[in-house]
Symmetry: D2
Subunit: 380 residues, 4 copies
C-alpha cells in the first residue's frame, strides 16, 4: 500500500524547481516505494503568480494564502521556499497545525526566530528540516566520514569559503536579499550560512567567533524603471575566525558574493595530524584526499572521483565513479531522507531546525562581532 504524501509548497520561484524534481525522483533514484509525494498545492504572493507556478511546477492546485496550506487537512508536508523573513511565521504555523516542515536556509533572519521555529517543531513532534543541502553532496558527506573515522588523525584546522560573483554587478536591483530586515544579512546570510552549517557538520559546535564585514557596493537601484539608489544595509563580504567547543581546531569561514570569477566556489579544507581533505563545489564530484601514511615517494593529494563506493552511491543515476551528480541531486538526497524519516516515524532527518537555529546563532554572533570589533562567545 503506497502512502500519498501530500505536499504544500509555499513559494514557487527558482529553487522550487529542484524540490519538485526531487519529489519526482524518490522512487527512481532513492528506491523509496512505500510513499509517493503528491504535489498538492502551491502558494504564491498573488493569483497570477500562484497559477503560473502551479502550471509550471505541476501542482494540483494553488492559493494566494499560504495559511490555506499550513492549516489544510489535506496537506502533510509544508515546503517553505520564501524570502527568509517569512520563514518563522510560516514554519511555526505549519508545525502548530501538525505539518511536517521543510524550510529553505537560513532558517530565519535572527536566532530568536530560529529558536522559536525549533521549539514549535519539537513541541509538535513533526519532522523538520532546514535546507542546508550541501551537507548532502556525496563528497561532503564522505569528507565528514573521513574526519570522524579519524582517517585524518587529530583534527587541526577547518577553513571554508563560499565565493560567488553575481552581486559584483552594481546594477543588480535592491531585492529582499540586500536588506537586513528581509534576509537577515547579505552574503553571510545567503552563502555564509552554508559554510557555518558545514563547520558544525564537519567539526562540531562553535564556541566563539570574531569577524570583519564590508559592503563594497554601498547603494543599489530600487527598480529597473528608476535611477534611484538606496543604501544597502547588509554585507557583501564577511570573514570570521572560529573556535570550536571542546576542540583545538582552528576555524575560519568566509564568504563574498562580489568575488569576480568565482561562481559557486564553496570550498573547504580539513587538516588533521594524519591527513587532509579538500572540496570545491565547482568540481562537486571530486574530493581531494591526502594520507601521510602513503609511501614517501607517492605522497600526494588524491583526486577521488565520487561514485558508487561513496555516500549516496546507491542513488546515482548511473552507477559509475565520475558520472557525476548535478546540483539538484544534493536536494534530492535531502528530501529523500526527510521523506524516509516521515515514513519511519523517527522525524529525525538532519539538518533539523535545531541545526538551523544553531547556525543562526553563529551567524548572529559573527555579525555582532563585526559591529563590536571583538570576539563574541556563543552560549553553550
Amino acid at each position: 500500500m503506497v502512502h500519498d504524501l501530500r505536499v504544500g509548497m509555499i513559494g514557487g520561484g527558482q529553487i522550487a524547481k529542484t524540490h519538485v524534481l526531487a519529489y519526482h525522483s524518490l522512487g527512481l533514484l532513492h528506491q523509496i516505494t512505500s510513499v509517493r509525494p503528491v504535489l498538492a498545492s502551491v502558494a504564491e504572493a498573488n493569483e497570477s503568480l500562484a497559477m503560473s507556478a502551479a502550471g509550471r511546477l505541476g501542482f494540483e492546485s494553488w492559493t494566494e494564502d499560504w495559511k490555506v496550506l499550513t492549516r489544510s487537512d489535506k496537506i502533510e508536508l509544508v515546503d517553505i521556499i520564501t524570502p527568509t523573513y517569512m520563514h518563522a511565521e510560516q514554519g511555526i504555523d505549519g508545525a502548530e497545525h501538525g505539518k511536517h516542515v521543510l524550510c529553505e536556509k537560513p532558517l530565519a533572519t535572527n536566532a530568536a526566530d530560529a529558536k522559536r521555529m525549533y521549539e514549535a517543531a519539537k513541541k509538535a513532534g513533526v519532522a523538520n528540516m532546514v535546507g542546508f543541502n550541501y551537507r548532502k553532496v556525496p563528497a561532503v558527506t564522505f569528507a565528514r566520514k573521513l574526519a570522524q573515522s579519524r582517517s585524518l588523525g587529530k583534527l587541526f584546522q577547518f577553513r571554508a569559503s563560499f565565493q560567488e560573483d553575481w552581486a559584483a554587478n552594481a546594477e543588480m536591483l535592491l531585492t529582499w536579499r540586500y536588506a537586513k530586515k528581509t534576509a537577515g544579512g547579505g552574503a553571510l546570510a545567503d552563502l555564509g550560512s552554508h559554510v557555518v552549517d558545514l563547520a558544525r557538520f564537519l567539526i562540531g559546535d562553535v564556541k566563539s567567533v570574531c569577524g570583519i564585514q564590508n559592503t563594497f557596493i554601498k547603494e543599489r537601484r530600487v527598480s529597473q524603471n528608476s535611477d534611484e539608489r538606496k543604501p544597502v544595509d547588509v554585507d557583501d563580504s564577511t570573514i570570521a575566525l572560529l573556535k570550536f567547543r571542546g576542540s583545538d581546531v582552528l576555524g575560519r569561514v568566509e564568504t563574498c558574493w562580489c568575488a569576480q570569477g568565482r561562481k559557486v566556489f564553496l570550498e573547504f579544507e580539513i587538516n588533521g595530524s594524519d591527513g587532509s581533505v579538500y572540496f570545491n563545489l565547482e568540481r562537486p564530484n571530486e574530493l581531494q584526499v591526502y594520507s601521510s601514511a602513503d609511501p614517501k615517494d607517492r605522497l600526494g593529494m588524491r583526486t577521488v572521483l565520487i561514485g558508487p563506493a561513496h555516500p549516496y552511491g546507491e542513488a546515482m543515476v548511473f552507477p559509475a565513479a565520475g558520472t557525476g551528480m548535478g546540483y539538484e541531486d544534493s536536494v534530492g538526497n535531502e528530501i529523500a531522507e526527510l521523506v524516509e524519516s516521515i515514513e519511519n516515524g523517527k522525524m529525525n532527518a538532519e539538518p533539523t531546525f535545531y541545526d538551523g537555529w544553531k547556525a543562526s546563532e553563529v551567524l548572529e554572533a559573527i555579525r555582532d562581532s563585526c559591529t563590536r570589533e571583538a570576539w563574541v562567545n556563543l552560549n553553550s
Copy 2:
C-alpha cells in the same frame, strides 16, 4: 490540449533510469508543455525482469515480447536500450510499424545493419535518434559553436580520447559487451563510438582512417560460478588516425576501458589558427577556451564554467554558472529535442540514424584498418 506521447521501452537496465528521468523532466526543465510522455510499457527478456522493470521505472505495463511494443497501436515512440546486436531488428520493426525510434548507441554491430536502420526510418518518415548523448553536454555543444563560428580560426587539429578503467578488472565476466557478435567491438564500440560521433559533430565527415588495437586481458570468466575462461574477441584499446573530408584537420581518436585511474575521461581538444578549446567529461561543466587575440600578458586557457549564457542554459535546474548539470542532463537534452521534433512534425532531431550509420562506418573502417594494418578509405 496536451498530447500524451506513449513510450514503449525495450530494455529496462541501468541506462533506462536516465531515460525515465528525462521523460519526467521535459516540462519542468525544458518547458515542453504541449506534449506529455507517458511511460506506457516496458519489454524485458522474461516475465520476472519485465515486471520488476515496470515497477522500478514506473511503467503502466510490461511485456516479455518487444514486438508487442513495436507493433502496438498504443505506442508512438519506441525507446531501445538493449545489447547492440538487437538494435537493428528492433529498430527496423519499430520504424516499419510507424513508430518513432530512439536507439542507444552504437546504432548497430556493423555498418550494414546501421544503414538498414537508417533506410527503414527514412522510408517510414518517423523520428529517429541514436543516443550519442555527449553531443548534448552544454560544454560540448558550445565547443562546436566556437569551432563553427570561426572563433578558433582555421581548424588544425582534433584529438579526442575516451578512457575508463572498469574493464581493467580481470575478473569482470564475459558479458555481451566483450563479444564481437553481440557488441560489434570492445572499447571502440562502447566508448569509441562516442568520440567518433564527436569527430563528426565537431569537425565533419571522415575520409580515411588507420588504427591499432589490442586486447590486454585475453580471456575472461564465463560466469561467477565457474572458473572457466574464454577468449575475448574484442579490443580493450584502440587508437586511430583520422583524415577528414574536404579539410586539412589532422584527427586522432582513442579509447580504452582498461586505463587505470580514468573514470569517464572523455576529453577532446580542437586547435585552430586563432584559438583552442579543451573539454573533459570528468569536469563536465567546464570548457577550456583560448584566444590568441587576448592581450599578450594575459594569454591563457580560460576555465569557462558553463551556465545560462551557454547552450541548454535555459534548461538548467538552477540558472547560475557552475551549478552544474549531472550525467542525466545530457540525456534529458537529447530526449527533449527528440520529443520537440516529433511534436513539430520535423522529425529531424540529431543525431539521427544517419549519424549512427556514419559513425558505424567509421568504426568498421577503423577495425578493418587495424586488421589489415593499413589505411582504409570511407566511401563518400
Copy 3:
C-alpha cells in the same frame, strides 16, 4: 672596468646555496656586467662548519667570527643567513661598519629590533634588503602590476595562505625554529611573514589585526639521542583578519606548517570590482586572471603561463612562456636588484629593512591579538 663586489656571508646552511647560485648568475641571467660578486668569506659557528661551508659553497676564505666580516675592509656586502635572533646584532654591526646588508626573513624576532636595524641602515646610508623573495616570483610581481593598474577595478578582498606540512611530523626536533626566543614565533614567523609582506606589497599598509593561534604538537624532542621532550612555545598555525589603512579591502592571512598534503602552498587571491587574480606557489609559473569584461559566454579564470611578456621575463633561462622559473630564480631576481641598486648608488632595492620592520610590526600585532583575544591597532 668591472667592479668586484666582495660578499661576506654569515651562515652557510640550506638557504646559502640559493644565494650563491644567484651571485653566480647575475651576468648570465640578469645582464649585470659592470659588477661581479666575489664570494670572499663565509662565517659559521665553528671552524669545522665554516671550513666545510667555504669548500661546499666556493668561498675564498672562512671565519668562526662573523664580526670579521661585518668589520673587514675587504667586504662590501654582508649577507645574513642565520637564525632570526642573530639578525639584529649582525645587521646593525654590518651597517654601522658601512656594509650593505642583505638579511634573510623575518628581519628580527620582534618589531623593536627590526626598527633598530632599519634605523641603523638608514643612518649608515647602506643598501639594505630583507629576503622576502616571493615578491620576486614573476607571477606575484605581475599580480601586483594588475592590482595597481586597476585592471581589477576597485579592490575588495585580499586573502592569502601559506601551508606546509613538514612540522606535522611529531618527531621533528625542537630546533631554533620552534622557540620564541630564537625565531620570534612559529609558523607565523617562518611562513606567515611572507604572506604578511605580500599583503603590504600587493595591497598596502595594515591598520589593525585580529588573530587566532594554536600549537598542535605541544612538546618536541630535544635531541635525536634522547626521548626527552620539551614544550613548544610557538604557533603551529595562525589565522588573522586584516584591515588596511585608507582602504576598504578586507584581508585575511593564515599559515600552518602542519597542514598535511600542502608542501609550499603559498596562495593568494585578490578580488576587485572588475576582476580577480589567484596565485599558488606550488604552481609558481601560473597566474589565474579573471576579467569581467570578457564576453559573457567566455568568462573564466585564465591560466596565464608566465613568460617573456611578464616581469623578469628578460631574466628567463629560456625565453618561452611556461618553461618555468625554479625556486632559486626568485632569490636571483632579488639579489640582482640589490646589486644593481648598489651599483647605481640608489641603495633603494625593495623590500628594504623598512619593509622588514613593517612586516615585523604586523606579525607582533597578530601575536598580541591572539594572546589578548582582541583587535590590535598598528601605529600609523
Copy 4:
C-alpha cells in the same frame, strides 16, 4: 686535486645559456668536486657573434672556426648547440679528434648521419650524449622507475604529446627550423624527437610506426625586410601510432607547434594493469600517480609533488617537495651525469649517441610512413 675539464662550445645562442648555468652549478648542486668545468672557448659563425657570445657567456676565448675546438689539444669536451644539419660533421670531427661530445637534439637530420655519429664516438671511445634533457626531469625519471618496478603492473598504453604554439604565428620567419634540409623535419624533429625519445626511455624499442602530418602554414616570409614568402617543406603537426618490440603496449606520439594555448605542453600517460602515471611539463614538478590497490573509496590520481624522495632529489636547490626545479635543472642533471661518466672513465651516461640514432630512425620511419600512407617497420 681538481681536474679542469676544458669545454669548447659550438654555438652560442639561446640554449647555450642553460648549458653554461649547468657547468657552473656542478659543484654546488651535484656535489661534483673532483672536476671543474672551464669555459675554454666558444665558436660562432663570425667574429662579431663569437666575441659577443664569449663575453655574454663567460668563455675565455672565441673562434670563428669550430674546427679550432674539435681539434684543439686544450679542449676535452665539445658541446654542440648548432642547427641540426651541422651536428654530424661537427660531432664526428670532435670524436675523431678524441673529444667527448655533447650534442643537442635531434642528433642529426637523418638516421644515416646519426648512425655515423654513433659509430665515430664508439670507435673513438669518447663520452657521447644527445641532449634529450626531458629524460632528466625528476618526475619523468620517477615515472620510468614506477613503470619498470612494475608498480603499474603489466604495461598497456603509452601516449605522449608535445604541443606548443609559437609557430601558429604566421609571421614567424622561414628560419632553419622550417626547412627539411637544415632541421630534418618540422615540429616532429624539433619537439617530436623528445617524445620519441621518451617512448624509448619509458617503454622500449619501437617496432613499427604509422603517422599523419600536415603543414598548416604553407608559406613563410623569408626575411623581416621583405614580403616574399616561400613554401615550408616540413610538418607543423604529426601524429603517429607506435608498436613496440617484444611488448603488447599500444603507443601514440604526437606533436604540433601551432597548438594555440599550449606553451610547453609535453605530456605523457602510461597505463598498466595496476596503475597509471601522467606527466605534463607545464607543471614539471608534479607527477600524477594512480594505484588500483588503494582502498575502494579513496582511489584517485595523486598529485605527487616532486622532492627529495625522488630522483635527483639530492640536487635540489632547496630540499623540500614542491619547491620546484626550473627548466635549466633538467639540463643540469644531464650535464652532471655526462661529466661524472667522463671522470669515472665509464663514458656511458645516457642518452648516448646510440639513443640519438635510434630516435632518428623512428623519426625517419614516421616521416616515411606519412609520405607512403602506410605502416613502416624499423630494423631490429
